[in-house]
């Protein structure tokens, strides 16, 4: 990066398009945090690309003044993979929704992460299909009553963090739309991670699923209902009054009342080689447990785009840069004179 780069501000990343989300939608807050962190990355707008699928959330690229591709439902990871394989120097973000990533795009979502393409994927989880006006989604809780499920949904929900871990993701995190400081930090860490960075953001759809995440958003209760993960630190919540301890293979809530100290608690290790701990944390769901927010897992593995381009270089070292005319003329030939 050149050193005489002008200092960038959120304004440099603001497009001239009117934002068309419903007033009060959680997407605004995510956009604001994104525009806050982008100028701090040292990457100019023209080196940045946002690629999305279809959904309310997927309108996001229109609102940032970078290169953008608003693609088709569920397929954003595939577009982004092709782009990153051939233009690894670009900074690529994928914006997706819970339906986009986990329903129609489930296949691409998992394959993106197992390949570890060096990009950031932000899933706006509102537990509902927003753009199509309120059907249940793969993250809607069992029994959810929506337009398409008047007697309640029957499909057991997917847990995005668990899916990402099972798909071998190297960076897995969760944050909340209105917890702006936390969200900004998580986005920043995602941007800095080399490899696929997956971030689930609890996002309120105030029109079709209002209040779905109140337990994790409301200042009054969020300390009780969420637990901030910090690498190397014990799992403490509720203002330091409670913690999580391992009992065999199961987590349990304990009161830090003197009989149990912080040393007895489970310590977070986002860099653990095995995803087992991260998976265990991902299974802690409200109301039985406080839900972890922050970085579940952050490990290094060679990125797909690097490996692909490395093979090209290796092939050129081993066989020389291809000479097409020579290549075509080689082998069994005969000449008509």
């Amino acid at each position: 990066m050149s050193t005489d780069l002008p200092v960038l501000t959120a304004n440099d990343f603001t497009s001239d398009q009117d934002v068309r989300w419903c007033p009060g939608c959680g997407d605004y807050s995510i956009l604001a945090q994104m525009k806050k962190i982008l100028p701090t990355l040292g990457i100019p707008p023209h080196q940045t690309v946002f690629i999305s699928g279809i959904g309310c959330s997927s309108r996001f690229p229109y609102y940032v003044n970078t290169y953008g591709l608003h693609s088709i439902h569920g397929r954003a990871p595939a577009f982004a993979t092709g782009l990153k394989m051939t233009r690894p120097e670009l900074s690529v973000w994928v914006i997706t929704g819970d339906g986009d990533a986990l329903s129609i795009g489930g296949n691409h979502f998992i394959h993106l992460m197992r390949r570890n393409v060096d990009l950031n994927i932000i899933l706006f989880n509102n537990s509902i299909y927003g753009l199509t006006k309120g059907q249940y989604s793969p993250t809607s809780p069992l029994g959810k009553v929506t337009k398409s499920t008047p007697m309640g949904s029957l499909d057991f929900p997917l847990n995005p963090i668990s899916v990402a871990l099972a798909a071998e993701a190297t960076f897995v995190a969760r944050s909340v739309d209105t917890n702006i400081k936390h969200l900004g930090e998580v986005l920043l860490r995602a941007a800095r991670h080399k490899g696929t960075s997956f971030v689930e953001v609890y996002q309120n759809c105030n029109v079709f699923n209002d209040g779905a995440w109140d337990y994790a958003k409301d200042k009054a209760v969020r300390e009780e209902n969420t637990i901030e993960l910090e690498h190397g630190k014990p799992l403490v919540f509720a203002g330091g009054k409670k913690g999580i301890r391992l009992n065999g293979f199961e987590p349990e809530i304990v009161n830090l009342d003197g009989r149990v100290s912080q040393d007895d608690l489970l310590f977070h290790d986002e860099r653990a080689h095995s995803p087992t701990l991260a998976y265990l944390l991902s299974r802690m769901r409200y109301p039985e447990f406080p839900e972890p927010i922050g970085v579940f897992r952050a490990v290094e593995r060679p990125t797909y785009d690097y490996l692909v381009n490395h093979q090209i270089e290796q092939a050129r070292v081993q066989r020389g840069v291809g000479d097409l005319q020579k290549f075509l003329a080689a082998g069994d030939t005969w000449t008509v004179t």
Binding site: G68, H70, S71, F79, H108, L324, L328, T333, T337
Partner: protein
């Protein structure tokens, strides 16, 4: 029986000492069990015939199952080779020789052997068990059925075992060499030089010296058998064909397609990206290209065909050469992505190696039934240019032309090939790349005015600028939503949508100004035979023959199916009748009639097989 102890490496190519009979061309079909190595035998015969300077056309025909039950009719695999001292365009109709390795292969193919043709059988594979596997109550060699033919029964299994004795191969392994024995015999019969095949064996079995030695011996034994047996009084000689001057090599369609893509990349100064999901008969394009990383070729085996096309679009968005290749079922999955590429107005190649459909259909058999899918198989008004290759070697040129149009007009282009072209082989004149016109691509340069970039500002062909991420000042957002012309901003304005639909259609229509007019061979009145794609050779040959029989017949072949060449309407008007032969139920005829109201006549076949020249001639004679 002559001995096989001569070391084959030391062998010179010795021509037969028997009399030679000169002939202008031969069609041979080699048939056996899928495990018998018939495809290998066929490709070797093709290669040595091409190297002998003959014109060659081939037709491999194999079952969809990898190893269908041994000895059964379903497991029969065949390879037909036509080589000649004149220019030829088809793998031939009637067979001059049929080599059948078992009863199932014999009974399923004997119908195509010409009277007095050579029928070479492996005598060792006609016991009761073999007959039962072929569901035969009676030995087909008994009775009068084989009377019309010149039948030569060779104990191939026994002779091969004897020949490879001492190489250390097990009996089972030894039996796998019998295709080389058959090859030796066929090579002898047609005076083919076996040295290229010896080199092939050397390279292929580099790490298995015993197998290499056994195959060499089997080949030699077959050759020697021909020389010593009383069955053959003479050999046949096919002189080199007078092809256009130049240096040639033998290519298969999928190979030529892969190389054409590499050439298109080079001519346009791009690096090639191919996204694909394996599917017969398209996978070989992926396999071939995955070997050329040192040319900067990036191949991506995606998780499905949707990801394959989308990854390619992502590459084109980034300024690269985005290509995806598949066959019918996979193309069906790509349709939404292709529609997006139409909307984005980005260059993209979608290669469809057609096979028999619908659904899984006939995976290893040929058909031309995806033309209307290419034309109409997308939601909304989503036209795109369509080009079809006409022969294996032509795939090279078609790929370059497709990329030229895709980049000039900023549009996805569909390139249609088919299973027959993909696996068939023919001589290909190696082009001088420096003489091929460059594919000019201009990406707009960085801009510092602070003005918003206008991604849909159009040129004289209505093509838009290809601005590439990473260029400062040109940041823009594109997507599937309808957009305002020039600015690219989302627009739901009714008039704008009408304008954009018309503009996209007109842009594709403008391709007719960039493509060659259609050429007619033969008469310019009477009957016109109008063909497209892989039926070119058969249609051309049939019209030549019909004219030789005094009929007024012209032939026109369409390379571009959308748009049609500008002069097509005027040409159609010159003829009293138009015949459109197709390996579908009338898809080009549907398009031609819709546009020109010609009342064209169809000749349609959907049997998983190419047309024979004679069935076309019969129809032409009936109509002309």
């Amino acid at each position: 029986m002559s001995s096989t102890s001569t070391s084959p490496e030391l062998m010179e190519f010795l021509d037969s000492s028997k009399p030679r009979q000169a002939i202008s061309g031969v069609t041979v079909r080699l048939v056996g069990d899928s495990g018998d190595g018939m495809q290998l035998l066929g490709t070797q015969l093709t290669n040595v015939s091409a190297l002998a300077g003959n014109d060659v056309a081939t037709f491999p025909d194999f079952p969809a199952e990898i190893r269908a039950p041994r000895g059964t009719r379903a497991g029969v695999s065949g390879y037909q080779v036509h080589f000649a001292s004149e220019e030829i365009f088809t793998p031939g109709d009637g067979l001059d020789a049929l080599v059948a390795m078992n009863p199932a292969a014999l009974v399923t193919n004997i119908g195509d052997l010409k009277p007095a043709g050579y029928l070479i059988l492996n005598r060792d594979s006609f016991d009761a068990k073999d007959l039962k596997l072929a569901k035969l109550d009676q030995d087909p060699r008994q009775g009068d059925r084989l009377k019309p033919y010149h039948v030569i029964e060779v104990p191939m299994t026994t002779l091969t075992r004897t020949a490879v004795e001492g190489t250390g191969l097990s009996v089972k392994e030894a039996d796998q060499c019998k295709n080389f024995f058959a090859m030796g015999l066929v090579f002898w019969l047609y005076g083919r030089d076996y040295r290229p095949t010896l080199r092939f064996i050397e390279a292929k079995f580099k790490h298995l010296p015993a197998v290499a030695e056994a195959n060499r011996r089997a080949l030699t034994a077959g050759w020697n058998y021909g020389e010593t047996t009383e069955h053959f009084a003479s050999t046949y000689q096919v002189a080199p064909a007078r092809l256009q001057l130049g240096t040639y090599k033998n290519v298969m369609g999928n190979q030529a397609l892969a190389w054409g893509l590499m050439a298109a990349a080079e001519l346009s100064g791009k690096e090639l990206f191919v996204g694909a999901y394996p599917i017969t008969p398209a996978s070989d394009v992926l396999h071939e290209l995955s070997r050329y990383k040192h040319f900067g070729v990036r191949t991506f085996q995606a998780e499905d065909e949707i990801a394959a096309v989308c990854s390619a679009i992502g590459v084109s968005f980034g300024g690269g050469m985005g290509v995806t290749v598949s066959s019918g079922p996979g193309i069906a999955l790509k349709t939404e992505g292709m529609g997006l590429a139409v909307m984005l107005e980005l260059p993209l190649l979608v290669l469809n190696i057609q096979r028999g459909g619908p659904s899984t259909g006939l995976p290893t058999k040929t058909e031309q039934a995806d033309l209307l899918m290419a034309m109409f198989g997308r939601n909304g008004e989503a036209p795109l240019p369509i080009i079809a290759a006409r022969s294996p070697a032509d795939c090279f040129d078609a790929a370059i032309e497709a990329w030229r149009i895709a980049t000039r007009l900023m549009t996805p282009v569909v390139l249609l090939s088919d299973g027959y072209i993909a696996n068939g082989a023919e001589p290909w004149r190696i082009p001088d790349l420096s003489k091929l016109p460059k594919i000019e691509i201009r990406h707009p340069a960085a801009q510092s005015s602070g003005e918003p970039f206008r991604p849909y500002l159009r040129d004289e062909y209505l093509s838009r600028p290809w601005a590439v991420p990473g260029t400062s000042g040109l940041m823009h957002r594109i997507g599937g939503l309808e957009k305002e012309d020039v600015t690219g901003n989302i627009s739901y304005d009714p008039k704008n949508h009408q304008h954009m639909v018309n503009t996209r259609a007109q842009k594709v229509a403008n391709a007719s100004q960039l493509i060659d007019p259609v050429q007619v061979t033969g008469d310019d009145s009477g009957l016109l035979v109008l063909s497209w794609g892989g039926t070119y050779g058969a249609c051309y040959t049939a019209t030549v023959r019909a004219r030789a029989q005094g009929k007024r017949v012209g032939h026109a072949h369409l390379r571009w199916l959308n748009p049609f060449p500008a002069n097509l309407g005027e040409i159609l008007k010159r003829y009293q009748r138009v015949l459109i032969p197709e390996l579908n139920t009338g898809q080009l005829r549907f398009l031609i009639d819709a546009k020109f109201r010609t009342g064209a006549i169809g000749l349609n076949k959907v049997q998983g097989k190419p047309f024979t020249v004679s069935e076309l001639v019969d129809e032409i004679l009936r109509l002309a």
